[in-house]
């Protein structure tokens, strides 16, 4: 049983941000800019050409910890979901991760340890940044275009042959199996800073880093849930339909 009060389209965007500042980084992904005035979510979505239902579901997922309406979300077109996921990638790669990196460079230790500790951390974070980049790049270049193509073909009942060929080369099950956990290094980094790294001289920087790491982790968890519980099952079903269609043709 869940007892959540959902955000509705009548809600003023300004008061929503007052009640949950974390949503600000989320609405930026819909290209909504500050200076909302008294406008409601509905008004802003209309003026920006944003799908209100989709916008509401996304902010409700991020706002309410236990809210994840799988069936409802699967009704939205893949292209819409993918567009949002890409915007999230940009937020991770261009905003969040550089900000954390900048903070890591500011950490200071006394004496000889400084250089050593910084070198270790820089190397670790560098690896992490590259891993996230590679992961998101692979999704944007291979996985997402594939899902959009499959959906389009299924909807318009065209390119079935080509779809089937693509499916034989790459299936969404590959993705589900390989969907490697970019959260693992993040969790390790949290533990390294909290438990194992000798305390830096400027603790306030370490605290800022941790705050950002926790925020990024939470965001990534939502992101992965959308991919694994919405994108994958949706495409799986379409693939199955295509397979059936293909085999019935041959008969």
């Amino acid at each position: 049983m869940q007892y959540v009060s959902l955000i509705t389209k009548e809600k003023e965007l300004a008061s929503l941000i007052h009640s949950d500042i974390d949503l600000l980084s989320l609405i930026r992904r819909f290209d909504i800019r500050l200076g909302f005035g008294d406008k409601s979510i509905e008004q802003i979505c209309n003026s920006k050409g944003i799908n209100i239902e989709f916008f509401l579901e996304i902010i409700n997922i991020f706002h309410n910890q236990n809210y994840f309406p799988t069936a409802k979300l699967q009704n939205f077109p893949i292209s819409m979901i993918v567009k949002f996921l890409k915007q999230s990638h940009a937020y991770y790669n261009e905003d969040m991760i550089p900000a954390i990196e900048e903070l890591i460079y500011k950490l200071e230790w006394s004496g000889e340890d400084h250089e050593r500790h910084l070198k270790i951390l820089k190397k670790f974070f560098n690896d992490y940044r590259e891993e996230v980049k590679a992961h998101t790049k692979q999704e944007e270049e291979t996985v997402y275009p594939y899902t959009v193509f499959i959906e389009e073909s299924c909807m318009e009942n065209k390119n079935i042959e080509e779809c089937y060929k693509k499916m034989q080369k790459y299936s969404i099950t590959n993705y589900a199996d390989e969907h490697n956990n970019i959260e693992e290094k993040l969790t390790d980094l949290k533990n390294i800073i909290i438990k194992y790294l000798p305390p830096s001289e400027n603790q306030e920087v370490a605290v800022k880093i941790l705050n950002k790491l926790f925020k990024l982790e939470k965001d990534l968890n939502h992101h992965a849930a959308i991919e694994e519980k919405i994108l994958v099952p949706k495409i799986l079903e379409m693939e199955k339909n295509l397979k059936d269609l293909n085999s019935s043709r041959k008969d």
């Binding site: 270790i120 670790f124 290094k185 969790t187 390790d188 194992y196 790294l197």
Partner: protein, 201 residues
């Protein structure tokens, strides 16, 4: 650390709802079920194996005390009674007891206490071996140097199976999963020298 699990027995729907929403505020807690009577009490406990049972006094009095005793022994859960008013010279002073007219903070304190008691028990068992052993240090050094499980096994004259077991234990003890994370730990704790690693030069 796994979640602390709760089961609630309370007649009134509204009160049950209240207790549920309170428990939901507690970190790492989960509610396995909520019931309005003592029907099937034994089988519920046996099947769900809760850590904490919050139970209304009236429902509590309907349960055969011998049955309850045996269940407590076998499944070692903590009972928290909940009732209207404090009875003077109540006999169950050693059991947790919450009252409907208490403030949120008092109730949460009592539940917290019950949780930390349970955690205390399980922690003692875990604590004993959270130190990294010499053998594990040797394996950590190999992992940091980028060796595969097979290479480590050959280096240390042990089976690959043993290497895997050691690695699992290291990950559990340190809370670090990835090779790069383990490498950082190994360097910080001088298990390996940074200059020995190609990528840090």
């Amino acid at each position: 650390m796994s979640n602390t699990s709760f089961i609630i027995f309370e007649k009134s729907f509204l009160k049950r709802l209240g207790i549920i929403s309170l428990i939901k505020e507690i970190k790492e807690s989960e509610i396995l079920g909520d019931y309005n009577s003592s029907d099937r009490f034994s089988s519920i406990i046996k099947n769900l194996k809760p850590n904490i049972v919050i139970i209304n006094k009236e429902i509590y009095s309907n349960i055969n005390q011998q049955v309850l005793k045996n269940l407590l022994l076998e499944y070692s859960f903590t009972l928290i009674n909940i009732s209207e008013i404090k009875e003077e010279n109540s006999e169950q002073s050693d059991e947790s007891h919450i009252y409907y007219d208490e403030e949120k903070s008092d109730i949460l304190n009592k539940i917290d206490q019950a949780i930390s008691q349970i955690r205390g028990h399980s922690k003692k068992k875990e604590k004993q071996n959270n130190e990294i052993s010499q053998r594990e240090k040797a394996i950590l050094a190999c992992v940091a140097r980028g060796l595969t499980n097979k290479e480590i096994a050959e280096d240390l004259f042990i089976s690959t199976h043993t290497v895997i077991t050691h690695r699992k234990n290291i990950v559990r003890k340190l809370g670090i999963k990835t090779v790069s994370g383990l490498t950082v730990y190994a360097i910080l704790n001088k298990i390996i020298d940074m200059t020995d690693l190609q990528e840090y030069r």
